[in-house]
Subunit: 348 residues, 3 copies
């Protein structure tokens, strides 16, 4: 694809404008790029690689244009990483899976799988529905009565358990589980009583679920654990029974919600952040890595710590902590000196 | 089922006593309940839903009876959540799996699987034993010589590795692994030497293991990692090689034991709590979320923090932390003022 | 095997030297050992078991020789645990898997699997290569174009995704995934744009990967996430896209690297330790359990805390913390007393 065409499709400005006939065949990093490679600069950490790159063209912000070496076309874009994501999809189109059911797959006679690709050892239970363009890789399981939309990808050993549902274009990484039983029991001193998990789990359109992430089914009939459209779950994320994740939220590795927690749209849970059960976090809340959220938070809050507090207060606390003991020691010394010079009247 | 019959089976008191002929067909939440729904109030957070519920009956504590709206029967019970768990099982009985081996399952000729249901792509190795009433879902693996008791459920892709054992009524969620190899090696500067993992793993009766949780096998022959009867492991729990979990203990998501750690009966590890290797925690120890236990703890201890200390001390520390820097700053200012007014005799 | 022969093969000194004809048939713990058992003492915690052991011989350091009871042969070695690891492999040799492809396995006609053992429901995609002596257990997946070296073991449901590669003698525990898609997208306020993950993942020789651990593929073509030779990954470890793990590094349970992080050889990440994206840790860096590394660290650094700081500083901080509030309170009281006795001249 020529740089001029790519610039037009991405809404990028080409500079110099004469570079339109550079041919771009692939994407690549600045350091490894070759003359037909489109690269990008989005993280300042890699700016040093820009000056020596051999790329044919580089997506970058206007302010970085000056650092682009001679002979390398600049594709100027306000959001070079998003533009790069789109360029990568254009230059490296992924072939759609060929529809068909492998003879070693298991598809119950009452299941509907028209137009899907079902690999060997994939398992589709009674009454399940798998939409056209969807790809079930080896060992993927769609349980009894479960529904999977169009153009989904269920990588090896991912599971959509009985009665659960995926929207369209949902991507489950290997081992992702939608509809696990969750941690449902009534505790008791002489043993715990299992609470049957009778609800479902729904993953809406355009959600991506990382390796081994677990979205448990809801406890009560007619209730559903829900992951909103466009949300992204990294690896090892857990969504407890009855919890809700708002659209476009981002949950980084090992983060999760305990049962019945609800987070709004565009929430970000950094790695290992956890939200306790039954809490509500408003739209756009951001939680720092490793934090434990123990109370509700309004829209836009930024939290950190364990238990989590306002991020700015937490930062101040962390900044002060290392020297606090030193300061207390200095105070103790100075105070003792004053006390020595000003003996108490009751001292002998 | 009529409210009177249900009350009798649960040992609950019906109020008003004339409500016995209310018909209950399902369980449900207070907010979504319909006239034939049995609901419950166990968490005060949801009390506001009680006043407006349309449920036919509500399980609750005696003290909440007054808030039950007219026309809604109260089923009064000292432990409404346990009673609800039992009611849910009565109103929504789960059908037992029909015994039989799917033609696409693999069962070694020397394995014994009488009375079990074995789905397609489940794998039962040589010499393995699977008890009656047990259900192996798609991709479940019972390794060579492994033993699985009666009425167990092995959800998709759960694994009982070679020589390991499950008791009766054990439930493995998708991807749960009993008998992984563990982190067994002798470290060395020029490379690490693998320690063959020659022991087993035993999961006793009535244990539930969450999605992807991992119970590693023991290192030494004739030794076993052990999870005691009635214990509940949430998702992503790890039990290191040779560790022991006491009966009825509760391990919340991402919590775990390092190798050879031992915890007594009725221990609770909250989410992400960890116990280091070779430690012993007595009966009933409780560990707060995210804590790291670094030394033995006696029965009944409650721990928090990383490294974990007594929970009350930790709470005081956490409560004091945010303002401690402010207090030190105030002390520094006041002390400087005193020093200014009481110059040292050695000052010029 | 006679004690004399074993001592010779391990490079251990036998004491008393007359004990050479003790026959050793198995390894075992000090407490459970029987007369033909070889045991070991490496952790001082178990020294009390040495005095009463019934073992035929015990591997231990020279300094412990005196505590060895009469009639028990001592095998003296500077590193008894490494010696024990080697002895266990000698006394309990693991049979190599018999080559062959189960009729219920799926091996694409263009794949090469000579000399490997492929169990039922294992899946080998088009163009994949599986080396001799390698064992694919039930449900193991080797994706299209993936390469697996010699003498590897892929336990049930482990996955080597398309185009990824394992060296020789690599061991994947159940559910381990090499080549997941990673957390690749360009975030945006109106939705996130998927970044196609076009690179690969390479696991070098002699690496062991724990249960469910996830090594994501790299983002860019011709780039690879890499785990260096001899590294050991415990359960639930994550290696983000494009990250690199140096040879012989040790990553304990739940630890991990975010995308593009790089750690050198012989690094140790204790349980739940995390390294943020794009960072570099030099050779031999050690990170304490639960720590969050937020900046680069030079070779040999030892880090702890969240955010991680120098380990010694962190220890001092942790040691001071519990009593700091008490000390500040005492200072406040003493200072108030001084102020009372030295009224400000401006006071009335």
């Amino acid at each position: 694809m020529l740089a001029a065409e790519l610039a037009a499709r991405l809404g990028a400005e080409l500079w110099p404008s004469t570079a339109g006939d550079v041919e771009l065949r692939q994407v690549g990093g600045l350091a490894e790029a070759e003359p037909h490679t489109l690269s990008f600069l989005a993280n300042a950490r890699y700016r040093r690689h820009l000056r020596s790159t051999r790329a044919g063209a580089v997506l970058l912000r206007a302010a970085e244009r000056g650092a682009c070496p001679p002979g390398v076309a600049a594709l100027i874009h306000a959001d070079p990483y998003t533009a790069f994501a789109r360029a990568a999809a254009l230059l490296h189109p992924q072939p759609a899976p060929t529809p068909g059911v492998d003879p070693s797959a298991y598809v119950h006679e009452s299941a509907v799988v028209e137009g899907a690709r079902i690999e060997a050892f994939a398992w589709v239970g009674p009454g399940a529905v798998v939409g056209p363009g969807t790809w079930l890789e080896a060992g993927a399981v769609v349980g009894p009565g479960a529904r999977v939309g169009r153009d989904c990808r269920l990588m090896p050993h991912s599971v959509v358990a009985a009665g659960c549902a995926l929207g369209d274009r949902v991507w489950l990484n290997p081992g992702a589980v939608v509809g696990g039983e969750g941690f449902g029991f009534a505790p008791g001193p002489a043993g715990h009583t299992k609470v049957p998990q009778l609800g479902g789990a729904i993953v809406e359109d355009d959600v991506e679920v990382g390796v081994h992430s677990a979205i448990d089914r809801a406890t009560l009939p007619d209730q559903h654990t829900r992951v909103g459209a466009g949300a992204r779950l990294d690896n090892f994320v857990q969504i407890g029974h009855g919890a809700e994740v708002g659209p476009n939220s981002l949950l980084v590795a090992y983060s999760g919600l305990a049962g019945s927690a609800r987070i709004g749209a565009n929430v970000v849970l950094a790695a290992k952040a956890a939200v306790m059960g039954h809490l509500e976090l408003g739209e756009g809340v951001r939680v720092a890595a490793g934090s434990l959220v123990v109370r509700d938070a309004p829209a836009g809050a930024t939290l950190a710590g364990s238990p989590a507090i306002d991020h700015a207060r937490w930062l101040a606390q962390v900044a002060a902590a290392p020297e606090l003991a030193d300061r207390v020691r200095a105070l103790e010394r100075r105070l003792a000196e004053l006390e020595r010079r000003l003996p108490s009247p009751t001292d002998p």
